[in-house]
Symmetry: C2
Subunit: 590 residues, 2 copies
Amino acid sequence: MYRTHTCGELRIENVGQTVTLAGWVQKSRKLGGMTFIDLRDRYGITQLVVDAHAAAELVETAGSLGREWVLQVTGEVIERQSKNPKMPTGDIEISLSEIKVLNKANTPPFTIEEESDGGEELRAKYRYLDLRRGPLQRALKIRHQIAHEVRNYLDAQNFLEIETPYLIKSTPEGARDFVVPSRMNPGQFYALPQSPQTFKQLLMVAGYDRYFQIVRCFRDEDLRADRQPEFTQIDCEMSFVEQEDVLNTFEGMMRTLFKNVLNVEIAERIPRMSWYDAMDFYGSDKPDIRFDMKIHEITDLVKGYGFSVFDGVDYIGAINVEGAAGYTRKQIDELTEWVKRPQVGAKGLVYIKLNEDGTIKSSIDKFYTPEQLQAVADRLGVKKGDMMLVLCGAKRKTQNMLGVLRIEMGNRLGLRDPFNFAPLWVVDFPLVEWDDETQRFYAMHHPFTAPKPEHLELFYSDKKEDLEKVCANAYDFVLNGTELGGGSIRIHEAEMQQRMFEVLGISKEDAEYKFGFIINAFKFGAPPHGGLAFGFDRVCSLFGGQETIRDYIAFPKNNQGRDVMIDSPSYIDQEQMDELFLESKAETKE
Amino acid sequence: MYRTHTCGELRIENVGQTVTLAGWVQKSRKLGGMTFIDLRDRYGITQLVVDAHAAAELVETAGSLGREWVLQVTGEVIERQSKNPKMPTGDIEISLSEIKVLNKANTPPFTIEEESDGGEELRAKYRYLDLRRGPLQRALKIRHQIAHEVRNYLDAQNFLEIETPYLIKSTPEGARDFVVPSRMNPGQFYALPQSPQTFKQLLMVAGYDRYFQIVRCFRDEDLRADRQPEFTQIDCEMSFVEQEDVLNTFEGMMRTLFKNVLNVEIAERIPRMSWYDAMDFYGSDKPDIRFDMKIHEITDLVKGYGFSVFDGVDYIGAINVEGAAGYTRKQIDELTEWVKRPQVGAKGLVYIKLNEDGTIKSSIDKFYTPEQLQAVADRLGVKKGDMMLVLCGAKRKTQNMLGVLRIEMGNRLGLRDPFNFAPLWVVDFPLVEWDDETQRFYAMHHPFTAPKPEHLELFYSDKKEDLEKVCANAYDFVLNGTELGGGSIRIHEAEMQQRMFEVLGISKEDAEYKFGFIINAFKFGAPPHGGLAFGFDRVCSLFGGQETIRDYIAFPKNNQGRDVMIDSPSYIDQEQMDELFLESKAETKE
């Protein structure tokens, strides 16, 4: 071992001991003949000191060190003259008797500090240097901790972690698969799993009762910001359970994580909200309930009074922004422009202020009496000094825009503290949604989700409007406006699964080809079962108080799906292509 | 929840309670008007009984049940008349008041018992049914346990589990990569990792100090028996360590596993053997030291006495098979045929018996005096009643054949009890080995392994014979004749890594293209580091007392790399091919 202690370990009690440390030079500086060196490792930073009167060679070595050099040093722990209460090791320093340079280092292309001066692209290329910085070290540490706590909790609940294969079969339903050509089976391909969904259901058929896996999943999608082609799930499944059992089990898991990782106590019972309420009151299937500011429909109060914009739409909705009556004309104009951006897509924005003096001022004053506007204010529970914001149009679309606006106002009012945690279950999702373009139903969750038992009659109906009403035994776990996980009670009968494929317009032949093995499996005694999966990367980032997942993944890819550090993907040898019986039709080739 | 208890839980103390169980019908039988049903789940089997005088409907349902049907039953726990001491639940049974059939089941294509009557192919196709059998349930359970113990041990030792990417870069050195075409980067490919080797080294450069991961790896090799295209490693790396530190850390891990999973105490210090001794005395780099039967060189004792077979070779070696002097002519002939099979490849076999009466009998009696043969016997420490077996030829090749023969004799003599565990470290491997065919050196371990510091001069020599003498700081963990893991202290200096690539005949350009990022990383302050990886599938199978890994993997592939359950790999749509800019040149296409 190159060291007796780590750089985060020594305290005042160690004074007088001779120790050996190893680590990186964080910085070094001369001060009145003395050389001070901050030596860093994963565990902390310890200050080293070389006296001006020390052996000439030692003084010289100490003076020659560069940032990020790797050292092994030996010396005596002494009490510091000027202590640093901000550092756990701040009471002591090491008076060096020996410095051994284990490795020199080129000057890093950016500073290895809490905040780096390097641009994103540069830091991605030198990811191994960026990973030395405190925020990333803490990110990967919390990731390890969360995984460890998850495993301990689930193990204690009798779950078995069972690995499912990564080389599986392409089933083009939903997102695109990454595929892997098989050399031994010419012309054929494996696919990388988008999730272990079918395998975990087969494990239930196989009687494993409680399964989990922290597992990589793959989706070949055009990458939106903060999406990765490979990502990690906490994937779980249970047999002989109803929805309530699943929710309770994973409420317990999340409570344990909050407690053991962050020392945060969350509510004894996580609130539950139906998907319909989430859409109606928050304009989102993942409401941020850290703040209220609910959406209220006001169609009945303002439609039909001669204001043509409102009169021509199905739905008019409003939110109340507390204390915002002071918003200036300029601020409101800016907000109007903001909602008109294509990312939101509103045609315009109506405001109604309830001034501190009790008067009402709005952009639609000429169409409504103050009494009419007061009725709107009353519905929203508006107080003096508040301002309502109103949007109108098609119902779900407008609710959606109001939801986006609500989040924006929450941000502007500082209502979204990342360390205030407000978890929520969203339940009672529609089973399927109609797509006008392809003229077919798609599974809202996935094709294995069971309809609610009380909706079975609707599920077997031939009418589109009946099928649209079917609710699923599905649930999402939402934290602070982000969907962290979701799942459902599954179909466990072959016949019902066939019906589901029929509803989705998947032909019997197609279903047989793609899902034959699971339909078949259901014929041999499938138990009732259900489960869920959490997006592990996002769990980690939210626990770390961050919105982006990239820092919580050791080696992420950029928005073009590239790893710029290793320069991948890359071209392969013709020989490799030949072995795989493949020819490239790509035009650009190096 | 569909149950109040599992099928493995109820005891005599529960008598009188009304309980609800759920599970599968293992079997049912009628006995004097009563119906007995064995209900099974992952946790055990509980006997259910329906009295002849019970409600008619209940009696009828009980009579109609088939094997593997899924039931929910309610009844009262009663004491059994005839107890079954072999079952944990054998003191009680449930007198049923209700049976609910949750799912019927087709008759399974083979029996779901400890030993199934199904052939391998059939069981693979219905893997989800095979997985219901006791041996497989125990296999996956021990796998979960081992993983859990590994993680707890390493977490306590300050290791962080850090996930490395699965979509990486193809570096065709060693085995073949599986590749993944990139849609977003036309003509380019990712590769699936053969191991996270470079990433874990980069994590050391990044200062993570102690890393581990239980991680899937991929190798597109022609599958030998008991190899899988995807397999799992326990992958570990540590900074600021020497070989001794790595060995101690993982001896501790293995000791903990043996203790906590199997309740077996292994030696305080696992024996260590140099690679050279392993080859000389066991004819294998993974000696099975559960039994002795060492190989002895006897060239000096028998060469040059006019027996042309021995006189024409470099090396003559022998093993002593204790108590085998009674082997008949026929048995020896059979053994001779056995060593002449191509799998072993010997030209012939010489035996020398030391009979119980002290006389010597051998197949080479006419060439040697009894005294000369006695000298051989003395060297091997042969006792009366033993028989020596002698092979000759080129040194390493002959040692290898003797090693294979030794294992065979160990098997025949019953010296290889799978529940007798004899771990061993093999150390001091050669750094590189020469390949005559391609006229170049190959890394014995991998190109990142460091030469022993005391061999640095040889490492920088231009002479082939010097380079062949260089030992590496490499080590293998061997259990009962199987290599379970291996690793090394790594090169951490860019200059030494360049030299290694030079020794391996990898051009600067090639090295730069394939490994540029890691050579570059070493220039920014790489710490001394080393690590190892265990083959997790094999660890599990050996802990389970089995030689094959297939039962320890939930969904394995067959020898053609196929998953016959999901029928993968398979053809993909032309549309998918087009999106990937690929054309298939395979001739057979469905």
